[in-house]
Amino acid sequence: MREDIPENIQAMHVYIDNQNFIETEELKNKIYEAMNQLPGACKNIFVASRFEGKKYKEIADEFQISIKTVESQMSKALKILREKLVDYLVVIATLFSLFFKF
């Protein structure tokens, strides 16, 4: 049988067709801006974990800080990012999941 896409995504779908994916670039920019607004050390720690996939222990050694500090900096970063992106999250999830389907 064909895979069926749930109905609630269909409205979104039309939206993508018309907007020609420029929307996705704008959203990328939003996320990127939010990342760059993180305080310096907080950002570096977060980048090491999220994008370089380093363990908390490795980050603690590298930055000469305690694991507890890594934990609190990590949650501080994600808390800030969530506040900045919360309005777009639904759109982001739908857009990118559809976009990468093909």
């Binding site: 064909r2 020609n20 420029i22 609190s72 919360v86 999830a93």
Partner: protein, 336 residues
């Protein structure tokens, strides 16, 4: 209403979990916290979505990191220079400057390379409906349901190239100077000006091309020298698994029914009929009694609704359809 549940959010733990570093014990306590309150689940979902959405900027952040690294390295090299050795200092500084310029150039080119196609191409994805579009060269394309189609906003000077996943009917505007090429998964279909149907759904093992008018060349993208030439009424089939190309006369007179909604059944068995109706009307039909599959039908339909098609079949075969949620159930006595 005593509620001494302070409901504080264990952010540290949740984020640790998202980065995949919690112990089984910690996972258990997160699970308990999640089940305390639906609000907690919402908070966690938002954090998770945020975490996941960052995947979208990974590439850009990587470029940033690289630049940062070069910058830091440069600073370190500055520091290494003895203070009196001004000449050496100057050269290092100059080299770093050139390197930085190159780096910016490379970054700009690679960003342009990846980002521009998004702005220069149109991508159309159809769900449950058939959609017709006209391309910049005047070619008409009808896309079947669940199909994705990419074409440039402006065609190149010497070639017209598009990409298809799914099924589409092409009525190509003749232009001998600019061949029209469709890449559909492993297949490439090349034409000058003609009309034909391409079926290249992911779920199918074959990619099929049926020509309505004119001549079409079908070949495997990696081997363009071996072309299968297809004329009117001929079907070309590329089997993806064994990478074979064959052609034969098109026996399915209803191959375009998804587009035209014109269906002709001539002494056709019920299971073939059901298959075709499922495809054309995008519905599901379940045959309850297997003996029904031997029943044969002769009928033709022209742009009729599924309900009226079913009515005709019901009366011809004296069977019963039950309607469900986009599903039909057939029951009745079978045929010999």
């Amino acid at each position: 209403m005593d509620n001494n549940n302070q409901n504080s959010i264990p952010y540290d733990l949740l984020v640790k979990h998202l980065s995949g570093q919690t112990s089984p014990d910690e996972n258990k306590s997160i699970d308990e916290w999640l089940h305390k309150n639906p609000e907690n689940q919402k908070t966690f979902q938002e954090l998770k979505d945020t975490w996941k959405s960052l995947e979208q900027v990974k590439d850009i952040m990587d470029i940033d990191l690289e630049e940062e690294w070069i910058r830091q390295k440069r600073t370190i090299e500055f520091k290494k220079q003895p203070e009196n050795d001004k000449n050496k200092y100057f050269i290092t500084w100059k080299i770093s400057k050139i390197a930085a310029v190159f780096l910016v150039l490379i970054a700009a080119v690679s960003v342009a390379y990846f980002v521009f196609p998004f702005f220069l191409n149109n991508k159309i994805v159809t769900n449950g409906t058939v959609q017709s579009i006209e391309l910049p060269d005047g070619t008409n394309v009808t896309l079947n349901a669940n199909t994705s189609f990419i074409y440039p906003k402006k065609f190149k000077d010497n070639i017209r190239k598009v990409t298809l996943k799914g099924e589409a009917f092409f009525d190509v505007k003749p232009d001998p100077e600019k061949p029209f090429i469709i890449s559909a998964k492993e297949a490439a279909v090349e034409v000058m000006g003609t009309s034909f149907n391409v079926n290249a759904y992911d779920r199918n093992e074959d990619i099929t091309v049926v020509v309505s008018t004119g001549t079409v060349a079908l070949y495997i993208t990696s081997n363009p020298s071996e072309k299968l030439i297809l004329q009117e009424g001929i079907m070309g089939i590329l089997n993806i698994e064994d990478q074979s190309l064959i052609k034969r006369a098109n026996t399915d007179r209803n191959f375009l029914a998804w587009k035209t909604k014109q269906i002709i059944f001539e002494n056709e068995t019920l299971n073939k009929v059901v298959q075709k109706l499922e495809d054309v009307y995008r519905t599901r039909i379940i045959v309850n009694n297997p003996a029904l599959n031997n029943c044969r039908i002769t009928a033709s339909f022209d742009q009729q609704s599924i309900q009226s098609v079913i009515k005709v079949i019901e009366e011809t075969l004296d069977i019963e359809f039950k309607e469900g949620d986009n599903t039909y159930l057939i029951d009745g006595k079978g045929c010999d």
